[in-house]
């Protein structure tokens, strides 16, 4: 497989948190000013390092939520109740705090504007973060690549970036957005109301003959099931790029 080596700028950076956006009850976005940052590609992640006063350190990986074309770097972090780093990033960080980042990391789960195939983006929970970077990069670069975006969350309140994604879909006829809520829905809910299954993918996803580039991100159980359905529907396994995230292991 032809690889694209990481550019040479993978190193530790210091960013300043300029703004914090509460996205949902459990997720926050940190908007960072990172002097010297040489850019990233949509889908990449960074390692964030926290250090206690006695020198103890903890490092975890977080997907980059901002598009390469955006001015500032944004990370969206979901608080894991038993997490060591995410509760601090979601609830402990304040505007003005410095944050150490290693990155950008990853060269496979990456979408570039030059990729011409139709895009199929499938997110489970906070797996939407790197896919948001792709959707946003596509919009920022006026790409005409058609997108189908399927986003599964437990409840409507747990949907991250909902207003932004709705606005993208409303303003772009090539951007087709579908939500499914797996746990509870309000009476006026018009999206799907079940876990992603083969029938939903048949209705929402591109057909294998459309030769889509597929990006699938979410917890392991979610991506395993969805990837198996996609392969069974006839999609080339090599066209399915997967990023698994979440509490380490499910």
């Amino acid at each position: 497989m032809a690889g694209t080596a990481l550019p040479g700028q993978l190193k530790w950076w210091t960013g300043d948190v300029t703004r914090i956006v509460r996205e949902t009850a459990t997720a926050s976005s940190l908007i960072l000013n990172v002097p010297g940052w040489l850019g990233h590609r949509a889908g990449q992640h960074v390692d964030v390092r926290l250090a206690a006063e006695d020198g103890y350190q903890a490092v975890r990986s977080y997907s980059i939520a901002s598009a390469p074309a955006d001015d500032q770097l944004m990370l969206t972090i979901e608080r894991l109740d038993d997490g060591e780093v995410s509760p601090y990033l979601v609830d402990g960080v304040r505007p003005g705090d410095p944050l150490e980042l290693l990155g950008p990391i990853g060269g496979y789960f990456v979408w570039e504007t030059v990729m011409a195939s139709p895009l199929l983006l499938i997110a489970g929970g906070s797996g939407v973060v790197p896919l948001r970077a792709m959707a946003r990069q596509r919009a920022r670069t006026n790409s005409e690549v058609p997108v189908r975006f399927l986003y599964s969350a437990r409840t409507a309140d747990a949907l991250i970036y909902r207003a932004e994604l709705d606005a993208l879909a409303a303003s772009d006829r090539r951007f087709d957005l579908t939500y499914t809520l797996t746990r509870s829905q309000l009476p006026d809910w018009s999206g799907y109301a079940r876990r992603v299954d083969a029938e939903m993918l048949r209705e929402v996803a591109w057909a294998p003959e459309d030769d889509p580039s597929i990006y699938l991100c979410g917890p392991t159980t979610f991506v395993e099931v969805v990837a198996d359905h996609l392969v069974a529907l006839g999609h080339d396994p090599a066209s399915i790029r997967i990023e698994r995230f979440g509490p380490t292991g499910m």
């Binding site: 694209t4 060269g107 292991g249």
Partner: protein, 202 residues
């Protein structure tokens, strides 16, 4: 670089014994996370085989049944993923690569492991011989789950776990080192967790 203190961050310190067993930058997990770049292949055992392919073209092949008849070892080992989790005392069963590579070992060679799904990873031959690497087909006493690389995966626990290729189907011997899948995407050619060789240039 001078470390920045994360105001108010305490962290979750491990006791000294655990801390000593953790390579730099790693944390301990009790779970068994799953990481892979594409869909999980489901190769039936009847279609499975394992090959050694020498750089001069010689090769040797085992069917699943022939592989099962080889001498087996139980391995209890700590494993370390480049995504920073480590797991202690994992228990595997499998066939030593010393057994599979018998008659193929030459000094100064490298291997490229190849797998269902197209994944590859490169290692020095010296790192998979001498009782350091196995083709493992059980985990915790059970047949290896497809998510974790079943029916069989490479197990090279002294290197970051991406080198322990899932769904492995064979090893190609090379006369010089070449990057495999993740190595092509910027990860380290060797991947020693104790020297924190995560990414190219580390």
């Amino acid at each position: 670089m001078a470390n920045i203190i994360s105001r108010g961050f305490r962290g979750r310190r491990q006791n000294a014994e655990i801390a000593q067993r953790l390579p730099p930058g790693q944390y301990l997990t009790e779970r068994f996370p799953v990481l892979s770049a594409g869909p999980t292949p489901h190769t039936p055992l009847a279609a499975w085989d394992f090959s050694i392919v020498a750089s001069d073209g010689r090769s040797k092949q085992w069917s699943w049944d022939a592989f099962q008849a080889l001498p087996r070892e139980t391995i209890t080992t700590d494993i370390h993923c480049v995504t920073r989790w480590s797991k202690f005392d994992t228990v595997w069963e499998g066939v030593s690569l010393d057994t599979l590579l018998d008659g193929f070992v030459e000094d100064g060679q490298f291997i490229m492991a190849f797998c269902d799904g197209g994944y590859t990873t490169n290692l020095p031959l010296a790192d998979v011989t001498g009782g350091k690497a196995w083709i493992a087909d059980t985990y915790d006493g059970q047949p290896l789950d497809p998510e974790h690389g079943g029916p069989a995966r490479l197990l090279v626990p002294h290197l970051y776990f991406w080198k322990s290729a899932k769904w492995v189907r064979g090893l190609r011997l090379l006369t010089r080192d070449e990057p495999g899948f993740w190595e092509n995407y910027g990860y380290h050619m060797y991947g020693d967790p104790w020297r924190e060789q995560r990414y190219r240039g580390n």
